[in-house]
């Protein structure tokens, strides 16, 4: 079995070129996730207790972190700043003032 190499290992999160529509949708998705952080609907309620012990407000925010991870996957896949990789490969020039 040969080593698939870093490029192949990164295949599932490899960037896909962004279009204007995709960019707009990703910005919207990010804003929606930001709004979802303000879950006023569970503000004063501890119940239901998920698994019998986890207050719903805490469970919601645990799920929110998973949603953040999913959002980051989408951003990495569809909004990866590939041009920066190319720019970094241009001839080195020490500009430390």
């Amino acid at each position: 079995m040969t080593d698939p190499g870093p490029a192949e290992k990164d295949r599932r999160i490899a960037p896909v070129p962004a279009t204007k529509m995709k960019t707009t949708l990703l910005v919207l998705a990010t804003l929606v996730v930001y709004v979802l952080h303000q879950d006023v609907w569970f503000w004063t309620s501890a119940r239901p207790l998920v698994f019998g012990f986890l207050p719903i407000g805490l469970f919601y925010h645990a799920c929110f972190t998973l949603l953040c991870s999913l959002l980051m996957w989408l951003l990495v896949r569809y909004a990866w700043p590939e041009h920066l990789e190319r720019e970094a490969e241009l001839p080195h020039e020490d500009r430390r003032p």
């Binding site: 870093p6 990164d10 999160i13 990010t30 996730v33 930001y34 952080h37 303000q38 879950d39 006023v40 569970f42 503000w43 004063t44 309620s45 501890a46 119940r47 207790l49 019998g52 012990f53 986890l54 207050p55 407000g57 805490l58 925010h61 645990a62 929110f64 972190t65 998973l66 953040c68 991870s69 959002l71 980051m72 996957w73 951003l75 990495v76 909004a79 990866w80 700043p81 041009h83 920066l84 990789e85 720019e87 970094a88 241009l90 080195h92 020039e93 020490d94 500009r95 430390r96 003032p97």
Partner: protein, 541 residues
């Protein structure tokens, strides 16, 4: 005795890893190797080390202590907001900083600012503000080490010795290993404390006879607010989402972004970062809340008793008595107390080592300050030209020793509370410095005068908040004292937690005004040369 020995053995392992990293880099006295590990970190070390660098003692000790007093709201305030904002800033800002650093050889954020805005002295002002905001972290790290080692050893290792040991260990591996040693130690430590939460949850849950009864008991008690967010306004909750902006503006995080071997290293870090936050914070916050039902831990009962007295009699108490009671309610040690009560000795030792791992995240701040001093001051003001590159690395190492010894001496002489408060200001200050990075990287119209205006505003704002907090006595929890009203509207209030502005944390106006100053002053002042702007904003980029 067993937990103490395990923690001491752990400290030995940490030193070994740092020295091992030094041996790998032996013979290389280049600046980039010592301060940036030759920009060579792979994906796993990059993720673990970056996460560990961001998660200070607060992630384990402070989160459970905050949750003990405030309940589950702690997770939403600090963890889930960071889970969104920090990876987002790494993706948008961190990758750009990495690319510019690789192309132009930058080692510190101030070098980037100096080049981007064609300035020398404004960079020095930014350096000074960053350094002043960062130093309290180093001091609090030494203090945290002393306190934790004393608690884990049951008092066998006194505070002064614990602090000295932790300072010596951190100093040794930062001195020898530089960024490479720090990154490898952080990776080891992060792996350890990622496992810490889950194990602690199982062991303490088992010891308490399960959590269901404890949660039901809290829900039926006057402490039921611990299971909801009813004591926090939605506006206040919202303002906490500004705090994680500080992460990318912290110099040790910006500098760390330069250590990746390839930009693709950011991909997994950005995606997995929120999950790592959940793994650490969820158990710590939940256990902090559960500590309220640990009726068989006398030290926790004393804290609860002090809280009850404070709540019932606060209005009639003298300020000194109120302060004394507040000190008794301090709860950063609840997790250690739970472990001492419910975990077997050997496991308490291992978990204590996990806590030490979080406390010792101060290494990155020491290295960052050393890097900033040698690059932004020593090298910038001709030290490197006159004495050579090797002398610059030696200066960096000497700075590490000097700073650690100074932090230890201060830690022995001054109360911890001062620095805990200073760190709270530092979060606000660095969040308000974030517009500088954003403007430098994304707005071609930004100027050095805009940057100077924002930086001076941050310095003045932080001093102003500190002065107001000191001048107006804290009211009892749940009440607010008007500091400044206009047309019947309370603009500034002093709450038990500090100053609030229109019901928001001060970080919100600090960030917004900082951004506004950058916009307005930059619009009115001359821009850098077209050549410089073209380098940062290439056509088609």
């Amino acid at each position: 005795m067993i937990p103490t020995l395990i923690v001491l053995a752990y400290l030995g392992v940490v030193v070994y890893i740092g020295v091992f990293a030094f041996r790998r880099a032996h013979g290389k006295e280049e600046v980039e190797d010592y301060f940036l590990a030759s920009r060579s970190l792979g994906p796993f070390v990059f993720l673990m080390s970056l996460f560990g660098t961001n998660m200070t003692a607060f992630a384990i000790l402070g989160s459970s202590g905050h949750a003990f007093a405030n309940g589950i709201v702690t997770f939403g305030l600090m963890a889930s907001s960071s889970a969104l904002v920090i990876p987002l800033t790494l993706l948008l800002v961190g990758t750009r900083v990495w690319a510019l650093g690789k192309r132009y050889g930058f080692i510190t954020p101030v070098q980037l600012f100096r080049d981007r805005w064609e300035t020398s002295h404004v960079g020095t002002v930014i350096f000074a503000v960053q350094a002043v905001l960062l130093v309290p972290y180093v001091i609090i790290g030494v203090m945290g080490g002393g306190t934790t080692l004393e608690a884990v050893s049951g008092g066998r290792v006194p505070y002064w010795l614990g602090g000295a040991l932790v300072a010596l260990v951190v100093m040794t591996y930062v001195f020898f290993g530089g960024m490479r040693g720090t990154a490898w130690v952080n990776t080891f430590q992060t792996t350890l404390f990622l496992g810490f939460g889950a194990i602690a949850l199982v062991v303490i849950g088992w010891g308490m006879g399960g959590f269901s009864r404890a949660v039901e008991a809290i829900a039926a008690s006057p402490q039921s607010f611990l299971l909801t967010r009813e004591r926090v306004s939605p506006l206040y909750f919202l303002s906490y989402t500004f705090i994680p902006l500080s992460s990318i503006a912290f110099p040790h995080i910006t500098i760390f972004c330069l250590t990746a071997r390839r930009m693709t290293q950011f991909r997994k870090t950005v995606i997995l970062y929120p999950l790592c936050i959940a793994v650490i914070w969820l158990p710590c916050v939940f256990l902090g809340v559960m500590a309220n039902r640990a009726s068989d831990v006398p030290e926790i009962q004393e804290k609860l008793e002090a809280r009850r007295t404070l709540s019932a009699e606060s209005a009639t108490l003298a300020p000194e008595a109120r302060d004394a009671l507040r000190a008794k309610t301090a709860a950063d040690d609840v997790l250690v107390l739970l472990l001492n009560r419910y975990a077997p000795l050997w496991l308490a030792g291992l978990l204590g080592a996990g806590i030490m791992a979080a406390v010792m995240a101060t290494d990155s701040q020491i290295l960052a300050l050393s890097t900033m001093f040698t690059e932004d001051v020593f090298a910038h003001y001709e030290g490197k030209t006159r004495f050579g590159e090797a002398a610059q690395v030696h200066t960096g190492r000497a700075f590490v020793i000097g700073l650690t010894v100074l932090a230890y001496v201060i830690a022995l002489r001054l109360p911890e509370g001062i620095f805990v408060v200073a760190i709270q200001y530092a979060f606000t200050g660095f969040a308000a410095l974030a517009p500088l990075l954003l403007a430098a990287l994304f707005w071609r119209g930004s100027t050095k005068w805009g940057a100077l205006a924002s930086t001076l505003w941050v310095a003045l704002g932080v001093v102003g908040i500190a002065a107001l907090n000191a001048a107006v006595p804290a009211p009892p929890p749940g009440q607010a004292t008007a500091v400044w009203s206009f047309a019947g509207q309370r603009l500034l209030e002093r709450t038990a937690g500090g100053i609030s502005v229109l019901g928001l944390l001060p970080v919100v106006p600090m960030v917004l005004i900082s951004a506004l100053l950058m916009l307005v002053v930059s619009a009115l002042t001359p821009k850098p040369s077209p050549e410089t702007i073209a380098r940062y904003f290439p056509p088609g980029g």
